[in-house]
């Protein structure tokens, strides 16, 4: 098709009709929930996260009311414990992180000129997991069964079943389930940013929001898995009495603190960076100029991401670690102020150099920066160990973290809400109500949280349900309570503004006259995302590229049609965004929702110790996943290539490292390997905490023979898979099948071999932390061997069914990636449990 063809209005109308049909959302009371399009799923995601925020806000108001006056008895200590635990957990796990994922699912395809993200069904699966897990965790408070150990759930209080009830299990299992959805979102967003950019959008032309999202999604991969590892150990102790955190049997509660905060501190930046990313989009719009210092923002995002993993011990300054260790973390905590400040200066300089339009979103942005900077400065204070020892566990810390999170997450999100509402709904929000809400929230936040610095320094500990009048803290607390209700009034004004939106007139297209791609969206929103996928030559194409909007709208760029009636988008190369292929995207389906339900069953049934139904649910999950993969992935297209316009033809099938599926597997396995390294860290942590580890009476267990046999079997499976991949690519289908069968057999044999070591040496996992951690490493590795066997069987079946051929071999290439990681896991695990006792 040449440019000339698109001059024909009839052709354009026919193309639009085809696109409209292909991208039409499913209709009907039930069927509409099967949608997977990023616009719908993103909206559900945002609304659900917003609802959780309001819920957690109400919990906070109850707490503040209880604390308004000394010796109050509105709620008892037990309820108060549930309130603050749930407030923190919901705000972090059910609002801040999911909200970033939700906003990105809506914005990212628009920013990248893609029709959708590469795995729309995965987004839908993530959403349903989030909804189910979130309702399960939040709902517990209505049954007086909410977690009550604080949002960081320190053992031994929380692992001893006589001290804490079902709430701890609900927290652990419910939130583990949500962590799964976060990792799913990270996979989706990383592959989206790296592979779904429009042609020409090289790394240096990428919108900064996409840079931030890439960085944050990578952070999720390294931050969430240690918590998942911690959750595994935690539930093993609660459900099976394996003493990881029980000091009387060789465990150590500090291990939990390490694993939690290796997650917990990067988490702060995981919720901060995407919010600040919204500024990187709206500041240039309202400064009416390009953002200055583009590489400086990349420095800030990447630098913060790295440094944030060197901060976790600053939450543990009061635990008695050697001062030299505290020094390292204190130093890194001070260093992270540098990149954080850099991005704030970039925004200030851009505004300074521009012609500023004082819009409501910009008001929120500047106000939130002011609040954030105060939180940042108290952060520099508590990063100094001697000061922290005084302020630890007081209201000073409460003040610090709320300044950071309100200035760094909540208010930027409101800025984004006012900025992007016209993009999503086609209607602007009210400037009058928005500004009223801003001033209420700004004044309220300072009135609520500033006095907490003082009450904290005067000695008010956090997490107490009341305090005596003699302490003289009544006035400060009353001020905080009044402030909290002023914030709530501001949020109520925003809710009112949102509720009135459906009756407002439509705003024009691109109402802020922004320059970035997402503003191509029409007020009369078409579901197809973008009419044609443009060629990008500037960071602000709407401002800089001639006739850009018209050319996109008239389908003069790439992929303006859906001739085969399939949802499609373009895959490009990582560095320079050269077109690589066209991929077919998943259409609406029940599978994501049903899979989420089945997986939710595993976690929820385990909470109530219903192990057989949970196992059944696990089997159902596996069956669902296999069905999903079999019917929805690595489909052999009806023709090898298709034209995308301008004389270009792209393949419809790719495999290996150019394909999104390969990247998804690689990224998922990075997360998996990180979780595993959390468990290995546990082993060596115990070693440092004991005079002799393994304990002398168990030094001969599990021996060398079984672990090394299991290792040999694992490596044999790995080599067989690689050989099969290579032989298969050269056309040796029969030989490849035999090799796969061999790999399958060794992987299956690896399971009993791996478990035999601890089993035959009679290791009792409830006796001591040593047998417990050895069993855990062995079980983890054997589970991976079992999954390897399932994958190899799947590939074999695909080959036999004719769904995998030498020229269409994505399945075996993706499984080979899994096998690389499996081999690495086997080497580390079996060397640790089999060989380390010999040298320790």
């Amino acid at each position: 098709m040449s440019l000339h063809d698109q001059d024909d209005p009839a052709l354009r109308a026919a193309q639009e009709q085809r696109l409209r049909e292909v991208w039409a959302p499913p209709k009907g009371l039930f069927l509409r929930w099967t949608d997977t399009n990023n616009n719908q799923v993103g909206n559900w995601y945002v609304l659900t996260a917003f609802a959780f925020m309001l819920f957690a806000g109400v919990l906070a108001l109850i707490m503040r009311t209880q604390l308004a006056v000394p010796d109050n008895d509105l709620v008892g200590p037990g309820t108060f414990n549930q309130l603050f635990t749930l407030h923190g957990s919901v705000m972090m796990f059910l609002f801040a992180v999911p909200m970033f994922e939700a906003v990105s699912i809506i914005l990212l395809p628009q920013l990248l000129g893609a029709r959708d993200l590469p795995f729309p069904r995965l987004s839908a699966f993530g959403y349903w997991s989030f909804l189910l897990g979130g309702v399960f965790v939040s709902g517990s408070i209505f049954f007086d069964a909410a977690p009550d150990g604080g949002w960081f759930m320190y053992p031994p209080l929380t692992t001893r079943t006589d001290l804490s009830g079902l709430g701890a299990d609900i927290w652990m299992l419910g939130l583990s389930f949500i962590e799964v959805s976060s990792v799913a979102a990270a996979v989706e967003l990383i592959v989206g940013v790296l592979k779904c950019r429009p042609p020409g959008m090289r790394l240096n032309l990428m919108p900064l929001y996409a840079w931030y999202i890439l960085v944050v999604a990578v952070m999720i991969l390294f931050a969430f898995p240690p918590l998942i590892a911690g959750d595994v150990l935690f539930e093993m102790e609660r459900l099976l009495d394996w003493p990881f955190f029980d000091a009387s049997r060789g465990g150590d509660p500090l291990l939990w603190q390490h694993l939690f905060w290796i997650f917990g501190h990067p988490e702060v930046y995981i919720v901060f960076l995407p919010s600040i990313a919204l500024f990187a989009m709206l500041v240039p719009t309202f400064a009416r100029r390009h953002l200055l210092g583009y590489p400086w923002i990349v420095l800030a995002a990447v630098g913060t991401a790295f440094l944030s993993f060197g901060l976790w011990v600053h939450h543990m300054f009061a635990t008695g670690l050697p001062k030299i260790s505290l020094g390292f973390f204190s130093a890194a905590s001070e260093a992270v102020a540098i990149p954080t400040a850099v991005q704030i200066f970039v925004f200030i300089v851009t505004l300074w150099a521009g012609r500023v339009v004082w819009s409501t979103p910009l008001l929120y942005a500047t106000g939130s920066l002011a609040i954030f900077v105060i939180g940042g400065l108290t952060g520099v204070m508590v990063a100094l160990a001697p000061f922290d020892w005084q302020a630890h566990d007081t209201y000073f810390v409460v003040a610090h973290l709320h300044y950071v999170l309100i200035g760094g997450t909540l208010m930027p999100l409101f800025a984004g809400l006012y900025y992007y509402w016209p993009l999503v709904t086609g209607k602007k929000l009210s400037d009058r109500l928005g500004r009223t809400a801003f001033w209420l929230i700004f004044v309220g936040a300072n009135l609520c949280f500033f006095p907490m610095h003082l009450s904290g320094l005067e000695g008010m500990p956090r997490r107490v349900f009341t305090y005596p009048a003699d302490l003289g803290l009544g006035g400060l607390n009353l001020a905080s309570t009044i402030g909290s209700f002023v914030i709530a009034a501001g949020v109520a004004v925003i809710v009112l503004d949102l509720a009135r939106s459906p009756w407002r007139p439509r705003s024009p297209r691109n109402p802020w006259q922004a320059g970035t791609l997402e503003w191509l969206a029409h007020p009369e929103d078409e579901n197809w995302g973008i009419r044609s996928i443009p060629l990008i030559e500037s960071r602000y194409p709407i401002w800089d590229q001639e006739d850009f909007v018209r050319k996109v709208d008239e389908g003069r760029y790439f992929l303006p049609d859906a001739e085969e009636g399939r949802r499609e988008t373009i895959i490009t190369s990582v560095l320079d965004a050269r077109p690589v292929s066209v991929i077919r995207l998943g259409a609406p389906s029940w599978k994501p929702m049903l899979t989420a339900l089945a997986l939710g069953g595993v976690f929820i049934l385990t909470t109530y110790h219903l192990y057989w139904p949970a196992l059944l649910s696990g089997a159902a999950t596996l069956a669902m996943v296999l069905w999903w993969l079999w019917t929805g992935t690595a489909e052999i297209p009806e023709k090898p290539c298709k034209p995308i316009g301008h004389g270009m033809e792209l393949p419809l099938y790719i495999s290996g490292s150019a394909s999104p599926g390969w990247w998804a597997m690689f990224i998922t396995m990075m997360a998996d390997a990180t979780a595993f390294s959390g468990l290995v860290f546990g082993y060596f942590f115990f070693w440092t905490r004991h005079e002799a580890f393994p304990p002398p009476e168990m030094a001969s267990a599990p021996g060398m023979v079984w672990p090394l046999s299991a290792l040999a079997l694992g490596l044999a499976g790995w080599l067989a898979t690689i050989a099969a991949r290579e032989v298969h690519a050269r056309g040796g289908v029969g030989m490849a099948r035999i090799l796969l069968l061999f790999g399958l057999a060794t992987s299956i044999a690896g399971v009993p071999a791996g478990l035999s070591g601890p089993w035959f040496s009679g290791m009792d996992p409830t006796a001591h932390s040593y047998p417990a951690i050895v069993w855990t490493l062995a079980i983890w590795t054997c589970l991976h061997a079992a999954v390897a066997a399932i994958m190899l069987a799947y590939v074999l079946a695909r080959s036999l069914a004719g769904r995998m051929t030498p020229s269409h071999d994505a399945d075996i290439r993706n499984v080979a990636v899994y096998m690389h990681f499996f081999a690495l896991t086997a080497v580390v695990a079996y060397a640790t449990i089999g060989l380390f006792p010999e040298v320790a």
């Binding site: 090289r202 630098g303 320079d576």
Partner: protein, 126 residues
């Protein structure tokens, strides 16, 4: 400019992986410092004052970061398209990645120095 006329450091491939070399060196140095102090304090109860191994590791880290920064610096000065170097060309993409790497090298250099300070000033396991 043809490949022949470019010096070796100008011909190096620049990717997302080279971008993260300096902060990765910081991370490795940090982990090394933390684990080494934690293990020697836990296992021997003592931590040699200003030990040679730590100094060598720190110097190595600083040298690696400096080298990476120097290469990046040279690459940001490659001649090609006119300023402000914000276009979708090979040379502007290269200059952008090089500039970002240079900035990260600066931050990582400071980060490594920060990590070294506790060893200088504390030096034992109290």
């Amino acid at each position: 400019m043809s490949d022949k006329r470019r010096k070796w450091h100008e011909r190096l491939q620049v990717t997302l992986w080279t971008l993260i070399v300096p902060p990765t060196v910081w991370a490795v140095h940090f982990l090394f410092a933390y684990l080494w102090a934690a293990v020697s304090c836990a296992k021997t109860g003592f931590f040699a004052e200003f030990p040679t191994l730590f100094t060598a590791g720190t110097v190595l880290a600083l040298a690696t970061i400096s080298l990476s920064g120097w290469i990046a610096h040279r690459q940001t000065r490659l001649r090609g398209d006119p300023p402000p170097h914000e276009r979708g060309t090979d040379i502007d993409r290269l200059r952008f990645l090089a500039k970002s790497t240079l900035l990260l090298a600066g931050l990582s250099f400071v980060g490594v120095l920060f990590t070294a300070l506790p060893v200088v000033f504390i030096g034992d396991c109290r």
